[in-house]
Symmetry: C2
Subunit: 389 residues, 2 copies
């Protein structure tokens, strides 16, 4: 049993949206195919993944360092103890050979994307959906097939006023979502509050609405928005300013009583540990957001959750960044609090299986083996061409 | 006046050395040439740089994002107010368009290497050595042409015992260096202390010897070494453990009286701010080490120094990582405390101008325009082929 090839291709994300700090028009992502010599249903098992959204394709790191390291490893050294499957933790260790400490993001995205694709193959070899494989290994097998999902939306677009914003948000409700998130910081505070109040009227309760500043504020503006937002008792106030400025979060946590959320721009267990050590974030309400394929993958997610548990944080306070099949399975497998969704936002790279239904804010994971990209026709077409080519 | 082309090439570093955590045998670096339409001495001015040592080549980020952004910018928008030279701060801003906050290392090395090459061109256009150009812009023109330089050595190599270690260290003294640094952590504590005591006998004073663990220790071993090393009153104890574990540095600073040093594996102003906020490092003695070409370049170095000044840190407590012509000019231009040197260690990528002399631990910078790679025959051969090709 062995990995016979790992292939990658860079694909444009093709989005014309923008948040408080930049537009996504030039954004790319890397699709990875991990091809094995294991046969299921008459064909070799192939694991797939892509590097989520918001960070550029990273094929060079894969081609120059990570794929050669796995290719050079003795195949048996990558197997689990029973010898009946690949062990992603061993593959991760091999990929990290020759890497200097720190400087995570230069490689964490490339490593994590390959690692998640290996997990897809491992679950397919085990003939399980990935969330079950993760739960068996890391959560004593406990996993719920039903997952709460909120929608990240409320984007800024040229010519988009409050009526268009409400139409967007109403569309999400019609899809079955109950909790929504909207962008703030791309307009002046007074205009943002008018947008916010219009959407609050629609959802009916602050706990059904989160806001996301995408790190767009300087510190004083972040605090000013905090003072203005606090009375609305929102579900959370996300990424006000520089994602590494833990002291600013601590200043906010001093007076902003409702939940704060951050973490999608931290890419290592150590960075997340610094967040909980220094930001004053509160395990009883705040939300930590991590993007596993951009942060070394599923194995590292298990280590980050173990570290967080030592600091008093439950998996229920954690959600994966990136609304896609990968994050859905990772959220369900680790028993995280919720998952996000970006229907129609990043084209084929957002959303879940084509046949998935959202009912009262919940999605029920299907039983396809692995991550289940096979249920996303457009995306799977590119993935299967990559592995067949 | 404009940049007409930016070229890059990945080159192996070719070193068979190792420190406490990995060997350098597969390490590469990117050489960059920034070609302008300005003519000096009958030829177009070209700025050069490379991405220091210890992080892999990063040409893909340059080709896919950074070089196209500069090429697309209106040439006049990259000039200084007088219109008589390129403004590296404007080029930096252009390179950072479309980049999400945080996640620095994925791009900071590629950005910084191009930015330093632009500074080389800028200084050549101004017909000044780079240290003078930096001092004019950021240090009110005050700059010393004489810089203290210590040697980073004392590497582990198969079959290398104390006699060979002493021969290596004696060689540095014969070159004119007075302060030396040796690796620790690649051998058990007792063996490391025997190595250390042998070198201490050679140099005669703990303040002439630093040690570097290259992040190789777990936390308990880092503290154990701290307790064992403290009585020797060494010049500094460098990078004991994970470079982002600021709490571990704080535990060390509680009892380890002599200087501590770290920072070469932090790549943004915000990360360095977190270091001084949370590590308990002491501005009256500790040393902060930053690698400018790996950390967005000279402009960001000026911002990091300004941030450090707000926290009570003098430039004299800062030294650039990477013993090469770039770090030498940056150290002299900003009035930093000292510079490091790696004679013969990373082949053509270490060391200074071929005609440079070290006298009593000091080097006198020559008057070649720019960084002065033209004085390093082997390296300049590759650089000039890249720009001519």
């Amino acid at each position: 049993m062995k990995i016979t090839d790992i292939r990658e291709i860079a694909v444009p994300v093709n989005s014309n949206l923008r948040n408080a700090v930049f537009d996504f028009s030039q954004m790319t992502t890397s699709i990875v195919a991990v091809i094995t010599d294991v046969v299921r249903d008459g064909a070799p098992v192939v694991g797939y993944a892509f590097n989520s959204t918001g960070r550029y394709a990273c094929g060079a790191q894969m081609r120059n360092r990570l794929i050669p390291r796995i290719a050079k490893a003795e195949p048996d050294s990558l197997l689990n103890e029973a010898g009946d499957n690949i062990d992603p933790e061993k593959a991760l260790a091999v990929m990290l050979q020759g890497e200097k400490p720190g400087g995570h993001t230069e490689r964490s995205i490339a490593v994590g994307t390959i690692e998640v694709a290996i997990w897809d193959a491992v679950a397919k070899i085990a003939e399980q959906p990935l969330y079950r494989t993760i739960a068996d290994r890391y959560s004593s097998g406990e996993a719920s097939q039903r997952m709460f999902v909120y929608v990240g939306g409320g984007w800024y677009q040229p010519g988009k006023g409050i009526p268009e914003l409400l139409a967007e948000m109403r569309g999400y409700q019609e899809m079955g979502y109950t909790q929504l998130k909207m962008k703030v910081g791309g307009a002046p505070l007074a205009e943002d509050l008018a947008r916010l109040e219009a959407v609050l009227d629609l959802v009916g309760d602050g706990q059904l609405l989160a806001v996301d500043a995408n790190c767009g504020f300087d510190n004083e503006t972040a605090l000013e928005y905090g003072r203005a937002l606090a009375p609305y008792n929102l579900r959370w106030y996300e990424e006000p300013a520089d994602p590494l400025d833990f002291a600013l979060i601590a200043r906010l946590a001093d007076f902003y009583e409702p939940p704060l959320a951050t973490g999608e721009n931290l890419f290592s267990t150590q960075d997340v540990q610094n967040l909980v050590r220094y930001s004053g974030m509160r395990p009883d309400r705040d939300v930590i957001q991590i993007d596993p394929p951009q942060s070394y993958g599923v194995t590292m997610m298990s280590r980050t959750l173990a570290m967080l548990a030592e600091h008093g944080w439950s998996p229920k306070s954690v959600m994966p960044h990136g609304g896609n099949q990968m994050s859905l399975h990772i959220a369900a497998g680790f028993g995280l609090g919720l998952c996000e969704s970006y229907p129609n936002t990043f084209g084929m790279f957002s959303g879940f299986a084509d046949d998935a239904e959202i009912i009262d804010g919940y999605i029920t994971l299907d039983d396809r083996p692995g991550i289940g990209f096979e249920g996303q026709a457009d995306l799977y077409k590119i993935m299967s061409e990559l592995s067949a080519g």
